[in-house]
């Protein structure tokens, strides 16, 4: 019970007036950062990092982690309102969030997204509080083979559990893998598929692809449909929030499942993006309302948001206890810790109790403050939808262009974004799903790297993927997910035969 006493001491630290002030300031800055596409949490934290050097380390980390929470909350706003995910893990939120906004239910979608984010984060913090030391040792078991298995599971659950024709899903995914292969091959250190174009050294950045595929693609589609933007009649007030809250407990099973997926993916350094995709895919297959997913189902917002936040929060644990950042934002925070003279690693929990528990306490309070801030702003955000499309579309275009430019300060990226926009439009017109393409761009190179690292280590033997219980189980789950519909059909046939 020493942990509990430490935690209460942490609350006392976090509740000092100065710390509460930096907390709210951080949340507001974070939401703004999250809303602007391209300017993600990592960039935001990096830009604001020097601001905190004059503060005591505990206040500084509270402010920076609150920027992180704010950005996580804010990423959902543009996903739902404009179909432009601000962060990789908000992509899955667009699948049902955007249709809801189009049906005039933007308020419900935003409320559901914020509330589930809070639930996911809370679940993960409770877990961090209770099992911190245990979890750290679990993360150590993850070598390249285990990491590949997790990515494999994410890809398989997407192919096997999706309602789209599997071959269209696979085709989209393969295009994504090809795009992910461009740039420096990290295993051989050689450039691939750049054809001497120096702008392609970096490969295709995920953010630029997403801003183009979703944001620009959506504008092109809307233009074709005659410049009408449905959802202008959204009525938003406190009643919508309360009404949505009344509905949410019905999805407790999805929430709980998403929390578990999120925590697990956050600790195994796979991260929030596969967590949100996997959670969405599994909810779609297992939910009673799964058939309606993609047409504005509130459960389709709850699942990815809960998982993404649980994972985003849980990812801080390996950073603190092992010094391995689970996300780019965590990497910047890690740099901050070093500047304040704190060495993340196994000794941090022993030597810097006040700092660690102050941070954990601020996770509880920061998320609560974040929820209050964004919920009170729901009417403001939703009111944006009432602006006529002819005014909002150029604004979105400008925002997209700024976002794409700010990723690497390169005008080439803006052109690239437009190309991706056309690609996104064509995909939608031909009925190919965009999600597997995006998933493959984000995780493709990581999966490839883990796969080749594993094979280097095993001298080329594929048996490494079944060499211990952990990796074998994850791979088996992946295979089951991949052939799920075949298995289910076989089972049904077997039943009709015996009946």
């Amino acid at each position: 019970m020493e942990e509990l006493a430490n935690l209460f001491h942490g609350f006392a630290v976090a509740l000092q007036p100065f710390n509460i002030m930096v907390m709210i300031l951080g949340i507001v800055l974070g939401v703004i950062i999250g809303v602007l596409p391209g300017l993600g949490g990592a960039n935001g934290v990096a830009i604001l990092l020097p601001l905190t050097f004059s503060m005591p380390p505990t206040s500084a980390i509270i402010m920076l982690s609150c920027i992180y929470w704010g950005a996580l909350f804010g990423g959902a706003i543009t996903s739902i309102l404009f179909n432009i995910p601000g962060e990789p893990w908000s992509v899955a939120t667009t699948f049902d969030g955007y249709p809801m906004a189009q049906q005039g239910k933007a308020g419900e979608a935003l409320t559901a997204a914020f509330t589930s984010s809070f639930v996911g984060a809370l679940f993960a913090v409770v877990m961090i509080t209770l099992v911190a030391p245990l979890v750290a040792s679990f993360a150590l078991q993850f070598g390249p083979a285990e990491k590949f298995a997790v990515y494999f599971l994410a890809f398989c659950s997407f192919v096997g559990l999706s309602k789209e024709p599997p071959f269209k899903t696979i085709a989209a995914m393969m295009i994504g893998f090809a795009l992910a292969a461009v740039g420096l091959d990290s295993i051989t250190g050689q450039l691939r598929l750049t054809f001497g174009i120096t702008e392609l050294l970096n490969g295709f950045d995920f953010l630029i692809a997403v801003i183009g595929l979703f944001g620009i693609g959506e504008i092109l589609l809307t233009m074709e449909e005659g410049l009408s933007f449905r959802g202008g009649n959204a009525k938003i007030n406190l009643r919508v929030v309360l009404h949505t809250w009344k509905e949410m407990p019905a999805y407790w099973l999805t929430s709980l499942r998403s929390c578990l997926i999120g925590c697990w993916m956050g600790i195994t350094p796979a991260g929030a993006t596969p967590a949100s995709f996997m959670s969405y895919g599994i909810a779609k297959r297992l939910s009673k309302r799964g058939k309606k997913f993609g047409h504005g189902e509130i459960e389709g917002v709850v699942a990815p948001e809960t998982a993404a936040h649980a994972a985003g929060t849980a990812a801080l644990l390996p950073m603190l206890s092992l010094g391995v950042p689970g996300s780019p934002t965590a990497a910047v925070l890690l740099g901050g810790l070093l500047i304040w003279g704190l060495q993340p690693g196994p000794m941090l929990f022993v030597e810097q109790k006040e700092f660690v528990w102050g941070l954990i306490a601020s996770m509880y309070l920061g998320n609560l403050a974040g929820l209050l801030v964004v919920l009170t702003c729901v009417p403001v955000f939703a009111a944006i939808l009432r602006i006529p499309f002819s005014i909002i579309a150029p604004l979105i275009l400008v925002l997209c262009a700024i976002g794409a430019y700010s990723v690497h300060s390169s005008t080439f990226d803006v052109v690239l974004m437009l190309v991706f926009g056309v690609l996104g439009y064509l995909f939608k017109k031909c009925g190919y799903p965009l999600a597997p393409l995006v998933l493959a761009i984000v995780l493709g190179d990581k999966a490839e790297e883990a796969f080749r690292q594993s094979l280097l280590g095993s001298q080329g033997s594929l048996a490494v993927f079944f060499s211990n219980g952990l990796v074998g189980t994850i791979m088996a789950l992946g295979l089951i997910a991949l052939f799920w519909s075949v298995i289910q059909e076989g089972y049904n046939r077997l039943r009709t035969v015996t009946a």
Partner: protein
């Protein structure tokens, strides 16, 4: 009228003189971009952000210093960016060994001679690490075990055909032992892979592995420098950086230090270079910098001007030879 003109002229002169700072010389007039040709959280990034913090905290510059990561193509993105900014004094870059290795391995159109050398800030050490649960007490024991295993023991390192792999190949050449080299994205990840026993050894920089050493998870065997590191403050179980023997004393005659230096864009004027040299001299004098040097057990050699350029040139030749021997040069 004549009198008025004279007064106005005098006033103008006073204003103009007032605008020029007392110490003649160039000063930045807009925010300075500080390019890091590596990802966030790595060694170069940590150093750049520490410098940014010191500059802000001690008010060493009138204009802000903005850190920007351009890590694409093993840092090629950052180098090409600075190369393309000829004559722009508001852009500086911090370099690591990829200043030599990236152009050599990938064939991108870049050489350090495209840039203007400013100053060497420090040299980063490399240490041979093994998992603390393994029985190897000295570098000799470990090399013997690597020979016995016949190429199955794994060396984890940062990047491919970069400094970690160059050291690995140099070790193979010096001893005849064979490693399986596995490249990872960053030094922190490599350190954790060692703790989790997914690789058998690493050549991490001190700052990348110090947390795990303090936690008693990894053991340093030797340092790839001519003399032991100078820091005698105990880190763990009474052992300090100073107590790590040199690899040479262990029969492993390899020295490798990594440049942490500053360059400017091509065609920088002399007073502009001078400004940054003075700035970094001031940074080096702050207690924050000295603390940072101690945490990372850096070799604090400082060089500027012709000495620095000469050092870089020698080092480039050495990398070319090392990489040629290892077969790492780009095919074209």
């Amino acid at each position: 009228m004549k009198r008025f003109v004279r007064v106005a002229f005098a006033a103008g002169l006073t204003l103009a003189v007032g605008a020029i700072p007392a110490v003649a010389g160039w000063e930045p007039v807009r925010p300075v971009e500080f390019i890091v040709p590596a990802g966030t959280g790595g060694g170069a990034d940590q150093m750049a952000r520490t410098i940014q913090g010191i500059v802000t905290k001690h008010n060493l510059m009138k204009q802000p210093l903005v850190v920007i990561n351009k890590s694409g193509g093993a840092g090629g993105e950052g180098f090409l960016d600075v190369k393309a900014s000829a004559g722009n004094p508001h852009k500086i870059i911090i370099t690591l060994s990829n200043l030599f290795t990236t152009p050599l391995a990938t064939g991108i159109p870049f050489s350090w001679k495209d840039l203007t050398p400013v100053a060497m800030l420090a040299l980063d050490e490399f240490v041979l690490w093994v998992n603390a649960d393994k029985p190897y007490a000295t570098a000799k024991d470990y090399i013997e075990a690597v020979k016995q295993a016949g190429g199955t023991l794994k060396m984890g390192g940062t990047g491919s055909k970069q400094e970690d792999q160059i050291i690995t190949v140099a070790m193979e050449k010096a001893t005849g032992a064979k490693f399986t080299y596995i490249p990872y994205k960053g030094g922190g990840e490599v350190a954790v892979q060692l703790v989790g026993n997914h690789v058998d050894s690493t050549v991490n920089n001190p700052i990348e592995a110090v947390a795990q050493w303090r936690g008693g998870k990894v053991r340093p065997l030797c340092v790839f420098d001519a003399k032991p590191m100078g820091y005698d403050e105990p880190i763990t179980e009474g052992k300090a950086w100073k107590d790590i023997p040199t690899c040479k004393s262990q029969g492993l005659d390899i020295e490798y230090l990594m440049l942490r230096g500053i360059f400017m864009a091509p065609r920088a004027a002399k007073d502009q270079v001078e400004y940054y040299v003075e700035l970094f001299k001031k940074v080096r004098e702050t207690p924050d910098w000295q603390e940072f040097m101690k945490t990372g057990a850096f070799n604090t050699t400082f060089m500027t001007g012709a000495d620095y350029a000469k050092w870089v040139e020698t080092e480039e030749k050495r990398h070319e030879t090392l990489m040629k021997e290892a077969g790492f040069l780009a095919s074209n």
